[in-house]
């Protein structure tokens, strides 16, 4: 059995290592280059296509639950007319992180196929678990997706009301907390929050 596999591998290697008989070097070089361009372009196009809101809400699970809820919030309509779409918050912008997240998302394809959250009830039952994934992801990357738009450097706390300014001064600028610690549920409804302490309370009791 093993020798059989080794034989096959050796044969493939011999074909692979032998100079081409039928095709010119130019054809192979240019052809390879073109094929590479096509492959890479296609890959990126497909990646971009899966990174659009329209793709996310092409599943009824996403359209009827998180998207419906997003529509009520300030990240959907606001005075300045800037809208955060699904991938703005849920997909990292850096390439390696993005690919890593996309690989994790294959679990979501599994969920789609087997109808893990194909009714509102199932979605609500699973919401705490799903929310926890996102909270810990944002906690681990220091709320990177929030900071793609909201940076502490460009935050003018004199333009905030005193309450918000104080909180940001105490917890955000000191690096003691990150956005998601306090701003849970800003774009979707929250799951049962029993046992999940708000950011400011957690800080005090930890002291």
């Amino acid at each position: 059995m093993i020798s059989c596999a080794l034989n096959l591998a050796a044969r493939v290697w011999r074909v692979f290592a032998r100079p081409s008989v039928h095709f010119s070097l130019g054809f192979l070089t240019l052809g390879g280059f073109l094929a590479g361009v096509l492959f890479w372009g296609g890959f990126n196009t497909a990646l971009e296509a899966t990174n659009k809101e329209a793709f996310c809400i092409s599943c009824h699970e996403m359209k009827n639950n998180p998207y419906e809820e997003l529509k009520q919030t300030i990240h959907f309509t606001n005075r300045s007319g800037v809208r955060a779409t699904c991938p703005d918050c849920h997909v990292p912008h850096e390439w390696t992180d993005k690919i890593a997240r996309k690989m994790q998302a294959s679990k979501e394809v599994w969920g789609k196929i087997f109808g893990t959250i194909d009714t509102r009830e199932k979605f609500l039952d699973k919401r705490l678990e799903l929310a926890n994934h996102e909270w810990s992801r944002l906690k681990a990357n220091n709320s990177l997706e929030c900071r793609n738009c909201h940076s502490a450097e460009s935050m003018d706390i004199t333009r905030q009301n005193p309450r918000a300014a104080k909180m940001h001064e105490t917890y955000l600028f000191t690096g003691e907390r990150t956005c998601i610690d306090c701003h849970k549920g800003i774009a979707h409804r929250l799951p049962d929050m029993n046992g999940v302490q708000p950011g400011w309370t957690g800080t005090v009791s930890a002291k």
């Binding site: 009301n161 309450r163 549920g185 409804r189 309370t201 957690g202």
Partner: protein
Amino acid sequence: MKIRLTFGALALAAAIPVLASGVFAADAPKVPSGPHPITQDIPAEPMGREVTDDIKKVRNYADQPPLIPHAIRDYQIDLNINKCLTCHDRKNTEGSQAPMISVTHFQDRDGQTLGTVSPRRYFCIQCHVPQTDAKPIVGNSFVDIDKVLGNGALGGGKEGAK
């Protein structure tokens, strides 16, 4: 001449809605979009701006539920979470420096004091509301109790009778 006539007709047509609405709005509160013929399309007046200055407003009477001086857009109050209580609950006030919900909120309807907020007091915005800068549509003759007491001997009766 013909052109002038057309202009005249147009001006008259433009004036009709104004005249009509004048008749309808005679005894109604003065709201631009108030009662008007259903055939007319009256634009709604702009929404009031929320007052979010974090300044406590004086209570008009001792039992008045304090007003909310901050934005509460998207605040979730349901079985899963009460967003208000994440700051105003007893155990969260140290971190948030927000005023704690009053002790009356721990009592159930039989006057029994519970360990946490009573279910009947759970839905904050049944009583506590934010304000906008909208002007009152209807007049109000409410008089502050201090004014009633303080001015009582000094001819406050006139004020109270208003």
